[in-house]
């Protein structure tokens, strides 16, 4: 099968907000390609530029530089002065507030994209019925829009975005206004819907668990810069950047200097305050480079007695052990470091216990200590 082409291409996107002295650089050369049919997530803390990037794709913001193309058609190019207005782009969008027009009924809201094209009445009616069935709202055609619950409003917003069969669906934090249970439900519905009609979808969120659960690919953004792109599994298990490791889930970082490493992905050695540790480099590292080891709390087995015949064993004292049902969440003091460790609930641990932590080299990701290139220090609060 031929390789899937890229549905959306973004090159070196630049955007500033404000004027003169209050000018803020919000997008600093963001480039990414979104494969056809994938559910692609922009993930990052608020102010990272994810929504702005999405709005640039929609044409609701005009970038200050770069190029965007959708389905092979250039919709924005700063050099060539190309700018296709929002209404001429092959997109459908779901807004954070859903933006359901309160002066129209459900059917009128959903039919809108077809109505303004003056399609025949019969066709519109049929399409509305079809698309409402897809989102599970059949029978609510004549309900006034303000009389809908949050979940229903969202389904209407989806139906409205889908009815015109756009090439790309843009979802701007569509789940953030729902309560927790509905959020999880809608999350799997969105995923299932996207699979079923295999429409290229860009999903913006600041919620990492949402991103992990729903995405084919995630683009992690921070401070107007694209940090890293990968599948949820890749990003969680083998992050290449320090920001990704800390932003996605919980992790322990141990600082040090690379002693030996080769380019074949075989274990390397790093000198830390806790001695020499083995690790797997998840990206290219050089000898003598400042680096960190990232290891997740659930990947650290905790032993009462010192395990024999293995590398990377640290001795520590339990400072805190909180029973969570499915695990003990422990804080273990190793020297003056405090490591988070999640253990199996059957192993009982108490504060004050002396324990041994086995940092399996396969779980120790070696990353460059500094991924601040191109990111303002002020925006990296950690």
């Amino acid at each position: 099968m031929a390789e899937k082409r890229d549905m959306v291409q973004i090159e070196a996107l630049e955007k500033y907000f404000g004027e003169d002295k209050e000018r803020v650089h919000v997008l600093k050369g963001v480039s990414l390609n979104i494969p056809e049919g994938s559910l692609y997530t922009f993930l990052g803390p608020s102010g990272c530029g994810k929504t702005t990037t999405l709005r640039c794709v929609a044409g609701l913001e005009r970038p200050d530089g770069g190029r965007i193309s959708i389905a092979g058609q250039t919709v924005f190019a700063s050099g060539e002065r190309v700018y296709v207005p929002t209404n001429k782009r092959p997109i459908g969008m779901v807004f954070q507030s859903y933006a359901i027009w309160p002066h129209m009924t459900v059917a009128e809201n959903v039919a809108y994209p077809l109505t303004i094209q003056r399609r025949p009445k019969a066709e519109i009616k049929q399409r509305v019925v079809d698309v409402l069935k897809i989102v599970g709202l059949d029978g609510l055609e004549d309900r006034p829009a303000p009389k809908l619950s949050g979940g229903q409003q969202q389904r209407v917003a989806f139906a409205r975005a889908l009815i015109n069969e756009p090439k790309v669906m843009l979802l701007d934090e569509p789940l953030s206004n729902l309560d927790a249970r509905l959020r999880v439900q809608m999350r799997s519905e969105i995923k299932a819907l996207q699979r079923r009609i295999s429409i290229t979808t860009i999903f913006v969120t600041h919620d990492q668990s949402e991103a992990l659960a729903i995405s084919d690919q995630i683009a992690v953004m921070h401070g107007g810069v694209l940090i890293e792109v990968g599948s949820p599994h890749q990003l969680y298990t083998r992050p290449k950047r320090r920001f990704t490791a800390t932003f996605l889930g919980l992790t322990n970082l141990i600082e040090g200097k690379v002693l030996e490493v080769d380019g074949d992905g075989r274990p390397g050695k790093i000198q830390t305050k806790r001695g020499v540790l083995s690790f797997i480099p998840s990206t290219t590292l050089k000898k003598d480079q400042q680096a960190v080891i990232s290891i997740r709390p659930e990947n650290i087995p905790l032993h009462k007695e010192k395990p024999q015949g293995v590398d990377n064993v640290l001795e520590g004292t339990v400072k805190e052990a909180i029973f969570m049902g499915d695990a003990y969440q422990c804080k273990v003091a190793v020297g003056d470091d405090l490591l988070a460790v999640h253990t199996h609930p059957f192993i009982s641990v108490n504060p004050g216990d002396k324990v041994y932590l086995h940092l399996d080299p396969a779980s120790c990701n070696g990353l460059p200590a500094d991924d601040r290139q191109g990111i303002d220090d002020s925006m990296l609060g950690d």
Binding site: G59, M93, F95, A99, Y112, I116, P146
Partner: protein
């Protein structure tokens, strides 16, 4: 338990006081309109003859028609000007628009009587500057414009009233969730389609309520009909009421019948308005995070909008202010010329400042303005606290009662108060105290709006934190509630002191020699044909207004921070 008692006491006291201010005049007006003889005279009986006389007069229907024509014309023209400016400043990339936002509000600080006078001085067929200049330039036989016509009246009213539309429509533009429009764009509609199908329908309730409130203001207006309409023999309700009382002998019964009719019209309007705005609130959609207004890139057209905005500013501010200033420095009224320029003098100011009544008028206006603004804000803050923060039964009634005077045109309130104080054995008729009571009654609705709006924003927990920290109720009110209330309090105070200083339509029926105020003095000087003196007085009035607004702002800011 003691706190509950003090709350109840405040509630009962406030209800009684508000009832006295707003309810008694209403009752007395209705009562007076069905009495056969003037107030105070013995042998009066209940009768419908006043209404018969009013309604079976053929003139009544011209009156009604004129009033409606005038109201509709005013509201249409103010709406056009105000909405255009609001749209330019909120939704376009017109250059210098921030400056226009401030400048468009200037007509607000110019008292209505002065703005009316300035337009007569500009557009009168005989002495109007514009007429004289255009006539000379184009070598016309007669004056091209005539202010003494229905259109002249509508123009003079609209160019003064539009800042209200501007403010309301700006808020409407700003409060609209822009993602509603963006959703239409992403759904494939053009800017124009989006405007017609989404923006316009969503704005419709706001637009309708703005039109309605301007219609009511047009029907209630007094300055323009009195100064332009009376000489032009174009009668509306307000001037008819005024003339019924000012003729000799006064026909209080007839004035009462007309006043009740006018009151019925404006009350209907206010009730519809209240209905719409309540529905509008329900119409409001859930919005997400803060959004920036969607600004339309006008391209080259932005210079056109800039030009139009400047033209409005020129007509609404520069021309009237110029003509007032110019006339205040010349010995007799005329077109600016080298000859007249050489005769420029401070004589008008000298005359005003030595006019026997001027000092009294300045003092009265100042005391009334400061006094009514302060008392209204104190009273309404207390009422707002009861209606917003307590769960006492009867608080909704109090809230509604405080709003009653908004439906009373100034001239109607004047008629009612004549009846009240000529009938009740309270000897304040003809003193400054009756004016003070009138002002408090009239401006109470504005005060309660400002006070409740800021009271709602004060989170209950802020007060509770003070109470749990050991503060008494009074300390909490003084240390927490009042400082937090200060910005709203100041804003309300400035607004009321300004409209109090320029108040004419109520005062004109209630003043006596010793309780003359500035706007009355201007009215009398104008009636006496002393144009240049009026202008000097007007300039001084505007300066006083600016100084008061400025001081209040400074003071308010200091108190808010200091505590």
């Amino acid at each position: 338990m003691r706190r509950l008692n003090s709350q109840t006491l405040i509630l009962v006291g406030a209800i009684l006081f508000v009832l006295y201010l707003a309810g008694v005049p209403l009752v007395m007006l209705l009562y007076g309109s069905i009495r056969s003889a003037p107030i105070g005279e013995p042998g009066a009986a209940f009768t419908l003859q006043n209404y018969v006389k009013a309604y079976f007069d053929k003139e009544f229907y011209f009156l009604l028609l004129n009033s409606i024509y005038y109201g509709i014309g005013t509201c249409a023209l103010t709406f056009l000007i105000g909405t255009f400016l609001a749209w330019v400043s909120e939704r376009t990339n017109t250059p210098l628009k921030k400056i226009f936002v401030v400048m468009s509000l200037i007509p607000f600080i110019i008292p209505g009587i002065l703005s009316t006078i300035s337009w007569i001085l500009l557009l009168s067929p005989r002495i109007g500057l514009i007429n004289i200049v255009v006539k000379e330039l184009l070598r016309l036989e007669s004056a091209p414009f005539n202010i003494y016509s229905m259109w002249g009246m509508i123009w003079a009213e609209a160019i003064h009233l539009y800042p209200l539309v501007f403010l309301l429509m700006s808020a409407a533009f700003r409060n609209m969730d822009t993602s509603l429009e963006e959703a239409a764009l992403t759904a494939g509609s053009s800017t124009w389609q989006t405007f017609c199908r989404v923006t316009l329908p969503l704005m419709r309730p706001a637009m309708f309520s703005v039109l309605l409130i301007n219609f009511i203001r047009g029907i209630e207006a007094f300055e323009v009909p009195a100064l332009i309409g009376v000489p032009a023999k174009i009668s509306v309700f307000t001037t008819k009421i005024f003339l019924a009382i000012h003729q000799f002998p006064s026909d209080f019964g007839l004035a009462g019948a007309y006043a009740v009719t006018l009151l019925a019209i404006s009350t209907t309007g206010v009730l519809i308005y209240g209905r719409i705005t309540r529905r509008e609130e329900r119409y409001a959609t859930v919005t997400g995070k803060g959004y920036r207004p969607r600004v339309i890139d006008l391209g080259g057209w932005r210079y056109f909008t800039l030009g139009m905005s400047f033209l409005i500013f020129f007509l609404a501010v520069i021309l009237p202010v110029f003509v007032l200033l110019w006339s205040s420095f010349i010995p007799y009224y005329g077109v600016p010329s080298r000859e007249l320029m050489e005769k420029m003098t401070f004589a008008n100011y000298h005359y005003i400042l030595n006019y026997p009544l001027a000092l009294t008028a300045f003092k009265n206006s100042f005391y009334l303005s400061v006094g009514s603004a302060t008392l209204v804000m104190l009273l309404t803050s207390m009422i707002a606290w009861v209606t917003v923060k307590t769960k006492l039964p009867g608080r909704a009634l109090l809230d509604n009662m405080t709003f009653i005077p908004i439906a009373m045109p100034g001239i109607v309130l004047g008629v009612s108060l004549i009846w009240v104080y000529l009938t009740l054995p309270i000897p304040i008729y003809g003193t400054i105290w009756v004016l003070l009571l009138a002002y408090i009654t009239k401006f109470m609705p504005y005060g309660i709006r400002a006070a409740s709006a800021s009271m709602i924003q004060i989170n209950k927990e802020l007060e509770e934190a003070s109470l749990t920290a050991g503060g008494t109720w009074f300390q909490t009110f003084r240390k927490v509630v009042l400082p937090l209330l200060m910005p709203g309090f100041t804003a309300g105070w400035i607004y009321i002191s300004i409209i109090a200083l320029r108040e004419l339509s109520t005062s004109i029926l209630l003043y006596s020699y010793n309780s003359t105020v500035l706007s009355i003095m201007a009215f009398d000087l104008w009636e006496g044909g002393q144009y240049t003196y009026v202008c000097a007085l007007g300039v001084l009035m505007v300066l006083l207004l600016i100084a008061m607004a400025f001081t209040a702002r400074k003071l308010g800011a200091r108190i808010g921070i200091a505590n």
